[in-house]
Protein backbone atom coordinates (compact mmCIF):
# COMPACT_ATOMS: atom_id res chain seq x y z
CA UNK A 1 0.00 0.00 0.00
CA UNK A 2 1.42 3.32 -0.90
CA UNK A 3 2.03 5.70 1.96
CA UNK A 4 0.12 8.97 1.90
CA UNK A 5 2.15 11.98 0.76
CA UNK A 6 4.38 13.57 3.35
CA UNK A 7 2.33 16.71 3.73
CA UNK A 8 -0.63 14.74 4.99
CA UNK A 9 1.17 12.60 7.52
CA UNK A 10 0.61 13.63 11.13
CA UNK A 11 3.70 14.75 12.98
CA UNK A 12 4.02 12.32 15.84
CA UNK A 13 7.65 12.90 16.66
CA UNK A 14 10.59 10.66 16.10
CA UNK A 15 12.17 10.36 12.73
CA UNK A 16 10.51 9.56 9.44
CA UNK A 17 11.99 6.53 7.80
CA UNK A 18 13.76 8.02 4.81
CA UNK A 19 14.65 6.03 1.74
CA UNK A 20 17.15 6.87 -0.90
CA UNK A 21 16.06 6.29 -4.52
CA UNK A 22 19.08 5.92 -6.75
CA UNK A 23 19.90 5.68 -10.44
CA UNK A 24 23.47 5.50 -11.66
CA UNK A 25 25.35 5.78 -14.89
CA UNK A 26 28.63 7.06 -16.21
CA UNK A 27 29.93 9.39 -18.87
CA UNK A 28 33.32 9.44 -20.54
CA UNK A 29 35.59 12.40 -19.89
CA UNK A 30 35.32 13.70 -23.42
CA UNK A 31 31.53 13.86 -23.26
CA UNK A 32 31.43 15.54 -19.87
CA UNK A 33 30.94 19.04 -21.26
CA UNK A 34 27.88 18.13 -23.30
CA UNK A 35 26.38 16.40 -20.29
CA UNK A 36 26.98 19.44 -18.10
CA UNK A 37 25.38 21.70 -20.71
CA UNK A 38 22.36 19.50 -20.87
CA UNK A 39 22.05 19.34 -17.12
CA UNK A 40 22.41 23.09 -16.82
CA UNK A 41 19.47 23.41 -19.18
CA UNK A 42 17.30 20.74 -17.60
CA UNK A 43 17.87 21.45 -13.93
CA UNK A 44 16.89 24.29 -11.68
CA UNK A 45 18.57 27.54 -12.43
CA UNK A 46 21.31 27.97 -9.90
CA UNK A 47 24.98 28.74 -9.82
CA UNK A 48 26.93 25.73 -11.01
CA UNK A 49 28.13 24.06 -7.88
CA UNK A 50 31.32 22.02 -7.75
CA UNK A 51 32.52 20.01 -4.85
CA UNK A 52 35.62 18.20 -3.65
CA UNK A 53 34.85 15.66 -0.98
CA UNK A 54 36.84 13.07 0.88
CA UNK A 55 34.82 10.04 1.85
CA UNK A 56 35.85 7.33 4.28
CA UNK A 57 33.93 4.13 4.74
CA UNK A 58 34.00 2.54 8.17
CA UNK A 59 33.12 -1.03 9.01
CA UNK A 60 32.10 -2.52 12.30
CA UNK A 61 32.70 -6.24 12.23
CA UNK A 62 30.60 -8.17 14.61
CA UNK A 63 29.91 -11.82 15.08
CA UNK A 64 27.44 -11.66 12.22
CA UNK A 65 28.72 -12.24 8.74
CA UNK A 66 27.96 -8.84 7.28
CA UNK A 67 29.69 -5.85 8.81
CA UNK A 68 27.90 -2.64 9.62
CA UNK A 69 28.90 0.12 7.21
CA UNK A 70 28.97 3.84 7.89
CA UNK A 71 30.16 6.48 5.45
CA UNK A 72 31.83 9.67 6.63
CA UNK A 73 32.31 12.49 4.17
CA UNK A 74 34.03 15.79 4.58
CA UNK A 75 34.34 18.72 2.24
CA UNK A 76 37.89 19.49 1.16
CA UNK A 77 37.24 22.79 -0.56
CA UNK A 78 34.52 24.42 1.52
CA UNK A 79 35.54 25.53 4.98
CA UNK A 80 33.23 25.42 7.91
CA UNK A 81 30.99 22.67 6.57
CA UNK A 82 30.06 19.90 9.01
CA UNK A 83 31.07 16.33 8.38
CA UNK A 84 28.38 14.15 6.92
CA UNK A 85 27.70 10.70 8.33
CA UNK A 86 25.49 8.38 6.34
CA UNK A 87 24.03 4.95 6.80
CA UNK A 88 22.73 3.09 3.74
CA UNK A 89 20.75 -0.07 4.17
CA UNK A 90 20.41 -3.02 1.88
CA UNK A 91 18.57 -2.34 -1.38
CA UNK A 92 14.92 -3.20 -1.12
CA UNK A 93 13.90 -6.14 -3.22
CA UNK A 94 10.90 -4.47 -4.77
CA UNK A 95 8.98 -5.59 -7.79
CA UNK A 96 10.66 -5.23 -11.14
CA UNK A 97 8.45 -2.25 -11.92
CA UNK A 98 10.25 -0.03 -9.55
CA UNK A 99 12.68 1.89 -11.68
CA UNK A 100 15.18 2.98 -9.09
CA UNK A 101 17.30 1.30 -6.46
CA UNK A 102 15.65 1.92 -3.09
CA UNK A 103 17.43 1.63 0.22
CA UNK A 104 17.02 2.91 3.71
CA UNK A 105 19.10 5.97 4.40
CA UNK A 106 19.99 7.98 7.49
CA UNK A 107 21.92 11.25 7.14
CA UNK A 108 23.53 13.08 10.00
CA UNK A 109 25.69 16.16 10.19
CA UNK A 110 28.49 15.89 12.70
CA UNK A 111 31.41 17.83 14.06
CA UNK A 112 34.89 17.13 12.82
CA UNK A 113 36.01 14.67 15.47
CA UNK A 114 33.90 12.04 13.74
CA UNK A 115 36.72 9.69 12.77
CA UNK A 116 38.10 9.57 16.31
CA UNK A 117 34.64 8.85 17.63
CA UNK A 118 34.05 6.03 15.18
CA UNK A 119 37.42 4.45 15.88
CA UNK A 120 36.71 4.59 19.61
CA UNK A 121 33.39 2.86 18.97
CA UNK A 122 35.19 0.01 17.27
CA UNK A 123 34.81 0.94 13.63
CA UNK A 124 37.73 0.50 11.32
CA UNK A 125 38.24 2.33 8.04
CA UNK A 126 37.74 0.02 5.14
CA UNK A 127 38.47 2.28 2.19
CA UNK A 128 38.48 5.92 1.26
CA UNK A 129 38.33 7.97 -1.89
CA UNK A 130 38.13 11.54 -3.11
CA UNK A 131 35.19 12.67 -5.17
CA UNK A 132 35.39 15.76 -7.33
CA UNK A 133 32.57 16.98 -9.48
CA UNK A 134 29.40 18.95 -9.97
CA UNK A 135 26.04 18.85 -8.32
CA UNK A 136 22.69 19.91 -9.81
CA UNK A 137 19.20 19.96 -8.43
CA UNK A 138 15.78 19.61 -9.92
CA UNK A 139 13.04 19.84 -7.35
CA UNK A 140 13.78 17.08 -4.87
CA UNK A 141 16.07 15.27 -7.27
CA UNK A 142 19.78 15.67 -6.95
CA UNK A 143 22.09 14.92 -9.84
CA UNK A 144 25.76 14.48 -9.05
CA UNK A 145 28.47 14.08 -11.68
CA UNK A 146 31.81 13.25 -10.12
CA UNK A 147 35.14 11.59 -10.67
CA UNK A 148 36.45 9.11 -8.15
CA UNK A 149 40.09 9.38 -7.19
CA UNK A 150 42.03 6.66 -5.49
CA UNK A 151 44.13 7.77 -2.56
CA UNK A 152 47.61 6.39 -2.98
CA UNK A 153 48.87 6.89 0.53
CA UNK A 154 46.39 6.42 3.32
CA UNK A 155 45.55 9.70 4.96
CA UNK A 156 47.24 11.79 2.32
CA UNK A 157 44.60 13.39 0.16
CA UNK A 158 47.11 15.20 -1.99
CA UNK A 159 48.45 12.16 -3.80
CA UNK A 160 45.43 10.93 -5.67
CA UNK A 161 44.88 9.41 -9.06
CA UNK A 162 41.65 8.99 -11.02
CA UNK A 163 40.10 5.58 -10.85
CA UNK A 164 38.89 5.52 -14.45
CA UNK A 165 38.42 7.70 -17.52
CA UNK A 166 34.76 8.27 -16.74
CA UNK A 167 32.68 10.37 -14.45
CA UNK A 168 30.05 8.69 -12.34
CA UNK A 169 26.57 10.17 -12.71
CA UNK A 170 24.10 9.63 -9.91
CA UNK A 171 20.49 10.72 -9.70
CA UNK A 172 19.14 10.39 -6.21
CA UNK A 173 16.19 11.45 -4.17
CA UNK A 174 15.81 11.14 -0.42
CA UNK A 175 12.15 10.75 0.36
CA UNK A 176 9.95 8.99 2.90
CA UNK A 177 9.15 5.35 2.34
CA UNK A 178 6.38 4.38 0.02
CA UNK A 179 6.53 7.27 -2.42
CA UNK A 180 6.82 5.20 -5.53
CA UNK A 181 5.83 8.07 -7.77
CA UNK A 182 9.31 9.41 -7.11
CA UNK A 183 10.89 6.64 -9.12
CA UNK A 184 8.60 7.43 -12.06
CA UNK A 185 9.76 11.05 -12.00
CA UNK A 186 13.33 9.87 -11.84
CA UNK A 187 12.85 7.60 -14.81
CA UNK A 188 11.32 10.44 -16.84
CA UNK A 189 14.28 12.63 -16.06
CA UNK A 190 16.69 9.84 -16.92
CA UNK A 191 15.01 9.55 -20.34
CA UNK A 192 15.99 13.13 -21.06
CA UNK A 193 19.64 12.38 -20.53
CA UNK A 194 19.72 9.59 -23.09
CA UNK A 195 21.69 8.87 -25.23
CA UNK A 196 24.47 10.76 -23.47
CA UNK A 197 24.15 8.78 -20.26
CA UNK A 198 22.19 5.66 -19.45
CA UNK A 199 20.96 6.02 -15.90
CA UNK A 200 19.80 2.72 -14.57
CA UNK A 201 19.37 0.79 -11.39
CA UNK A 202 22.59 -1.07 -10.80
CA UNK A 203 22.56 -3.66 -8.05
CA UNK A 204 25.95 -3.49 -6.34
CA UNK A 205 25.68 -7.11 -5.21
CA UNK A 206 25.87 -8.17 -8.84
CA UNK A 207 29.26 -6.50 -9.16
CA UNK A 208 30.86 -8.22 -6.22
Amino acid sequence: MEAPPVTMMPVTGGTINMMEYLLQGSVLDQSLESLLHRLRGLCDNMEPETFLDHEMVFLLKGQQASPFVLRARRSMDKTGMPWHLRYLGQPEIGDKNRHALVRNCVDIATSDNLTDFLVEMGFRMDHEFVAKGHVFRKGIMKIVVYKIFRILMPGNTESIEPLSLSYLVELNVVAPAGQDVVSDDMRNFAEQLKPLVHLEKIDPKRLM
Binding site: Q24, R124, L152, L163, S164, L165, S166, H198, L207
Partner: protein
Protein backbone atom coordinates in the same frame (compact mmCIF):
# COMPACT_ATOMS: atom_id res chain seq x y z
CA UNK B 1 -22.18 43.59 -49.04
CA UNK B 2 -20.57 45.13 -46.04
CA UNK B 3 -19.28 41.81 -44.81
CA UNK B 4 -17.59 41.19 -48.13
CA UNK B 5 -15.98 44.56 -48.02
CA UNK B 6 -14.67 43.87 -44.55
CA UNK B 7 -13.34 40.50 -45.67
CA UNK B 8 -11.68 42.10 -48.63
CA UNK B 9 -10.02 44.64 -46.42
CA UNK B 10 -8.74 42.02 -44.02
CA UNK B 11 -7.43 39.90 -46.84
CA UNK B 12 -5.66 42.83 -48.38
CA UNK B 13 -4.00 43.66 -45.10
CA UNK B 14 -2.84 40.09 -44.66
CA UNK B 15 -1.53 40.03 -48.21
CA UNK B 16 0.33 43.30 -47.76
CA UNK B 17 2.03 42.08 -44.58
CA UNK B 18 3.00 38.78 -46.20
CA UNK B 19 4.39 40.51 -49.24
CA UNK B 20 6.33 42.92 -47.02
CA UNK B 21 7.91 39.96 -45.18
CA UNK B 22 8.80 38.35 -48.46
CA UNK B 23 10.33 41.56 -49.72
CA UNK B 24 12.43 41.91 -46.59
CA UNK B 25 13.80 38.40 -46.83
CA UNK B 26 14.58 38.96 -50.51
CA UNK B 27 16.40 42.16 -49.64
CA UNK B 28 18.51 40.43 -46.99
CA UNK B 29 19.26 37.55 -49.34
CA UNK B 30 20.39 39.90 -52.09
CA UNK B 31 22.52 41.82 -49.63
CA UNK B 32 24.07 38.57 -48.49
CA UNK B 33 24.83 37.52 -52.04
CA UNK B 34 26.29 40.85 -53.05
CA UNK B 35 28.38 41.66 -50.02
CA UNK B 36 29.35 38.37 -48.43
CA UNK B 37 29.78 36.20 -51.49
CA UNK B 38 33.29 35.17 -50.58
CA UNK B 39 32.28 33.88 -47.17
CA UNK B 40 28.97 32.41 -48.21
CA UNK B 41 28.34 28.74 -47.50
CA UNK B 42 25.86 26.49 -49.20
CA UNK B 43 23.85 25.80 -46.01
CA UNK B 44 23.40 29.52 -45.54
CA UNK B 45 22.11 29.91 -49.08
CA UNK B 46 19.80 26.97 -48.50
CA UNK B 47 18.50 28.65 -45.37
CA UNK B 48 17.59 31.77 -47.31
CA UNK B 49 15.87 29.74 -49.98
CA UNK B 50 13.98 27.80 -47.36
CA UNK B 51 12.86 31.03 -45.78
CA UNK B 52 11.62 32.38 -49.09
CA UNK B 53 9.84 29.15 -49.90
CA UNK B 54 8.16 29.15 -46.52
CA UNK B 55 6.96 32.67 -46.98
CA UNK B 56 5.62 31.93 -50.43
CA UNK B 57 3.78 29.01 -48.90
CA UNK B 58 2.10 31.17 -46.30
CA UNK B 59 1.21 33.65 -49.01
CA UNK B 60 -0.45 30.89 -50.96
CA UNK B 61 -2.29 29.75 -47.88
CA UNK B 62 -3.62 33.23 -47.28
CA UNK B 63 -4.86 33.37 -50.85
CA UNK B 64 -6.48 29.96 -50.61
CA UNK B 65 -8.08 30.69 -47.26
CA UNK B 66 -11.84 30.25 -47.25
CA UNK B 67 -12.43 33.72 -45.88
CA UNK B 68 -10.68 35.25 -48.85
CA UNK B 69 -13.14 36.68 -51.35
CA UNK B 70 -12.61 35.88 -54.98
CA UNK B 71 -9.98 38.42 -55.90
CA UNK B 72 -10.45 37.42 -59.48
CA UNK B 73 -13.75 39.24 -59.48
CA UNK B 74 -12.21 42.52 -58.38
CA UNK B 75 -10.97 45.03 -60.90
CA UNK B 76 -8.37 47.71 -60.34
CA UNK B 77 -8.76 50.84 -62.40
CA UNK B 78 -6.32 53.72 -62.20
CA UNK B 79 -8.30 56.87 -61.66
CA UNK B 80 -5.69 59.54 -62.15
CA UNK B 81 -2.53 59.35 -64.21
CA UNK B 82 -0.11 62.21 -63.97
CA UNK B 83 3.46 62.66 -65.11
CA UNK B 84 4.33 64.63 -61.97
CA UNK B 85 6.31 63.24 -59.09
CA UNK B 86 4.05 61.95 -56.38
CA UNK B 87 5.53 62.05 -52.91
CA UNK B 88 2.97 59.66 -51.47
CA UNK B 89 3.82 56.93 -53.93
CA UNK B 90 7.51 57.55 -53.44
CA UNK B 91 7.14 56.99 -49.74
CA UNK B 92 5.00 53.88 -50.08
CA UNK B 93 7.31 52.19 -52.55
CA UNK B 94 10.54 53.28 -50.84
CA UNK B 95 11.59 55.42 -53.76
CA UNK B 96 11.22 52.78 -56.42
CA UNK B 97 8.20 54.28 -58.20
CA UNK B 98 8.43 58.07 -58.34
CA UNK B 99 5.66 58.73 -60.86
CA UNK B 100 2.27 57.20 -61.39
CA UNK B 101 2.19 57.76 -65.12
CA UNK B 102 1.26 56.05 -68.39
CA UNK B 103 4.45 54.04 -68.63
CA UNK B 104 4.42 52.76 -65.08
CA UNK B 105 0.79 51.68 -64.90
CA UNK B 106 0.67 48.95 -67.59
CA UNK B 107 3.62 47.16 -65.95
CA UNK B 108 2.34 47.34 -62.42
CA UNK B 109 -1.35 46.71 -62.96
CA UNK B 110 -0.91 43.97 -65.53
CA UNK B 111 -2.92 40.78 -65.05
CA UNK B 112 -2.08 38.85 -68.20
CA UNK B 113 1.09 36.76 -68.17
CA UNK B 114 3.93 37.34 -70.64
CA UNK B 115 3.27 36.28 -74.24
CA UNK B 116 5.78 33.39 -74.07
CA UNK B 117 4.29 32.15 -70.83
CA UNK B 118 0.82 32.44 -72.33
CA UNK B 119 1.88 30.35 -75.30
CA UNK B 120 3.32 27.62 -73.08
CA UNK B 121 0.23 27.54 -70.94
CA UNK B 122 -2.01 27.23 -74.00
CA UNK B 123 0.15 24.36 -75.23
CA UNK B 124 -0.09 22.54 -71.93
CA UNK B 125 -3.84 22.99 -71.78
CA UNK B 126 -4.34 21.49 -75.26
CA UNK B 127 -2.05 18.56 -74.38
CA UNK B 128 -3.92 17.87 -71.23
CA UNK B 129 -7.29 18.02 -72.98
CA UNK B 130 -6.11 15.43 -75.50
CA UNK B 131 -5.44 12.65 -72.97
CA UNK B 132 -8.43 10.64 -71.88
CA UNK B 133 -9.41 10.93 -68.21
CA UNK B 134 -8.38 7.30 -67.48
CA UNK B 135 -4.89 7.74 -68.83
CA UNK B 136 -4.63 11.00 -66.94
CA UNK B 137 -5.67 9.28 -63.72
CA UNK B 138 -3.11 6.52 -64.27
CA UNK B 139 -0.38 9.06 -64.86
CA UNK B 140 -1.31 10.87 -61.66
CA UNK B 141 -1.20 7.64 -59.68
CA UNK B 142 2.18 6.59 -61.00
CA UNK B 143 3.59 10.03 -60.20
CA UNK B 144 2.31 9.80 -56.63
CA UNK B 145 3.75 6.33 -56.20
CA UNK B 146 7.18 7.38 -57.47
CA UNK B 147 7.23 10.38 -55.15
CA UNK B 148 6.35 8.33 -52.10
CA UNK B 149 8.98 5.70 -52.97
CA UNK B 150 11.60 8.38 -53.27
CA UNK B 151 10.61 9.98 -49.98
CA UNK B 152 10.77 6.65 -48.23
CA UNK B 153 14.22 5.91 -49.60
CA UNK B 154 15.51 9.30 -48.51
CA UNK B 155 14.14 9.06 -45.00
CA UNK B 156 15.46 5.53 -44.53
CA UNK B 157 18.90 6.58 -45.72
CA UNK B 158 18.86 9.55 -43.38
CA UNK B 159 17.85 7.46 -40.40
CA UNK B 160 20.45 4.79 -41.05
CA UNK B 161 23.31 7.18 -41.58
CA UNK B 162 22.36 9.14 -38.48
CA UNK B 163 22.27 6.13 -36.18
CA UNK B 164 25.40 4.64 -37.74
CA UNK B 165 27.26 7.88 -37.28
CA UNK B 166 26.13 8.13 -33.69
CA UNK B 167 27.27 4.67 -32.88
CA UNK B 168 30.67 5.17 -34.40
CA UNK B 169 31.65 8.60 -33.20
CA UNK B 170 29.65 9.33 -30.17
CA UNK B 171 30.21 6.62 -27.63
CA UNK B 172 29.56 8.83 -24.66
CA UNK B 173 29.72 6.24 -21.93
CA UNK B 174 31.40 2.96 -21.27
CA UNK B 175 29.34 0.33 -19.44
CA UNK B 176 32.44 -1.33 -18.05
CA UNK B 177 33.44 1.97 -16.51
CA UNK B 178 29.96 2.37 -15.06
CA UNK B 179 30.21 -0.99 -13.33
CA UNK B 180 33.69 -0.26 -12.06
CA UNK B 181 32.68 3.12 -10.65
CA UNK B 182 29.54 1.77 -9.01
CA UNK B 183 31.50 -1.05 -7.45
CA UNK B 184 34.07 1.44 -6.18
CA UNK B 185 31.45 3.59 -4.49
CA UNK B 186 29.40 0.72 -3.16
CA UNK B 187 32.10 -1.36 -1.50
CA UNK B 188 35.46 0.08 -2.40
CA UNK B 189 36.45 -2.20 -5.24
CA UNK B 190 39.75 -1.05 -6.66
CA UNK B 191 40.09 1.79 -4.21
CA UNK B 192 41.70 0.87 -1.02
CA UNK B 193 45.35 1.16 -0.31
CA UNK B 194 45.40 -2.29 1.18
CA UNK B 195 44.29 -3.94 -2.03
CA UNK B 196 46.88 -4.16 -4.77
CA UNK B 197 45.27 -3.18 -8.05
CA UNK B 198 45.05 -4.75 -11.51
CA UNK B 199 48.47 -6.14 -12.31
CA UNK B 200 48.38 -8.41 -9.28
CA UNK B 201 45.29 -10.24 -10.47
CA UNK B 202 47.06 -13.33 -11.69
CA UNK B 203 49.05 -13.59 -8.49
CA UNK B 204 45.97 -13.34 -6.34
CA UNK B 205 44.08 -16.11 -8.05
CA UNK B 206 46.82 -18.55 -7.14
CA UNK B 207 46.97 -17.87 -3.43
CA UNK B 208 44.53 -19.35 -0.96
CA UNK B 209 42.18 -17.04 0.88
CA UNK B 210 43.83 -16.78 4.25
CA UNK B 211 47.20 -15.18 3.92
CA UNK B 212 49.17 -13.75 6.74
CA UNK B 213 47.29 -11.38 8.92
CA UNK B 214 48.82 -8.02 9.39
CA UNK B 215 47.53 -6.75 12.65
CA UNK B 216 48.03 -3.05 12.27
CA UNK B 217 48.39 -0.88 15.29
CA UNK B 218 45.32 0.61 16.95
CA UNK B 219 44.70 2.52 13.74
CA UNK B 220 43.65 0.90 10.51
CA UNK B 221 43.01 -2.79 10.72
CA UNK B 222 44.25 -4.43 7.57
CA UNK B 223 42.65 -7.36 5.87
CA UNK B 224 45.16 -10.02 4.82
CA UNK B 225 46.74 -9.45 1.44
CA UNK B 226 46.58 -12.33 -0.94
CA UNK B 227 49.47 -11.08 -2.99
CA UNK B 228 53.15 -11.92 -2.90
CA UNK B 229 54.96 -11.08 0.35
CA UNK B 230 56.57 -8.09 -1.24
CA UNK B 231 53.19 -6.51 -1.55
CA UNK B 232 52.31 -6.80 2.11
CA UNK B 233 53.30 -3.27 2.80
CA UNK B 234 50.71 -0.95 4.27
CA UNK B 235 51.87 1.85 2.03
CA UNK B 236 51.90 1.25 -1.66
CA UNK B 237 53.63 4.51 -2.32
CA UNK B 238 53.79 4.14 -6.04
CA UNK B 239 55.05 0.57 -6.19
CA UNK B 240 51.82 -0.79 -7.54
CA UNK B 241 50.35 1.88 -9.77
CA UNK B 242 47.51 0.80 -11.94
CA UNK B 243 47.57 2.50 -15.29
CA UNK B 244 44.72 4.93 -15.26
CA UNK B 245 41.51 3.53 -16.58
CA UNK B 246 41.99 -0.06 -15.45
CA UNK B 247 40.11 -0.76 -12.27
CA UNK B 248 41.62 -3.69 -10.44
CA UNK B 249 39.97 -7.08 -10.32
CA UNK B 250 39.48 -8.02 -6.73
CA UNK B 251 38.98 -11.55 -5.55
CA UNK B 252 35.87 -12.09 -3.50
CA UNK B 253 37.80 -13.92 -0.81
CA UNK B 254 37.34 -10.90 1.38
CA UNK B 255 34.45 -12.39 3.33
CA UNK B 256 36.39 -15.43 4.49
CA UNK B 257 39.30 -13.21 5.38
CA UNK B 258 37.17 -11.08 7.62
CA UNK B 259 36.00 -14.11 9.57
CA UNK B 260 39.48 -15.35 10.20
CA UNK B 261 40.85 -11.93 10.98
CA UNK B 262 38.10 -10.53 13.12
CA UNK B 263 39.71 -8.97 16.09
CA UNK B 264 36.75 -7.17 17.47
CA UNK B 265 37.83 -5.19 20.53
CA UNK B 266 34.74 -6.28 22.44
CA UNK B 267 35.19 -10.01 21.90
CA UNK B 268 35.65 -11.99 25.04
Amino acid sequence: MQREEKQLELTLEALISQVADLKNSLVSFIYKLENEYDRLTWPSVLDSFALLSGQLNTLNKVLKHEKTPLLRNQVIIPLVLSPDRDEEIMRQTEGRVPVFSHEVVPDHLRTKPDPEVEEQEKQLITDAARISPDAAQKQIQSLNKMCSNLLEKISKEERESESGGLRQNKQTFNPADTNALVAAVAFGKGLSNRRPPGSGASVQSGQPGAGAIIAGASGIQQVPMTGAPAQQQPMLAGVQMTPAGQPGKMPSGIKTNIKSASMHPYQR
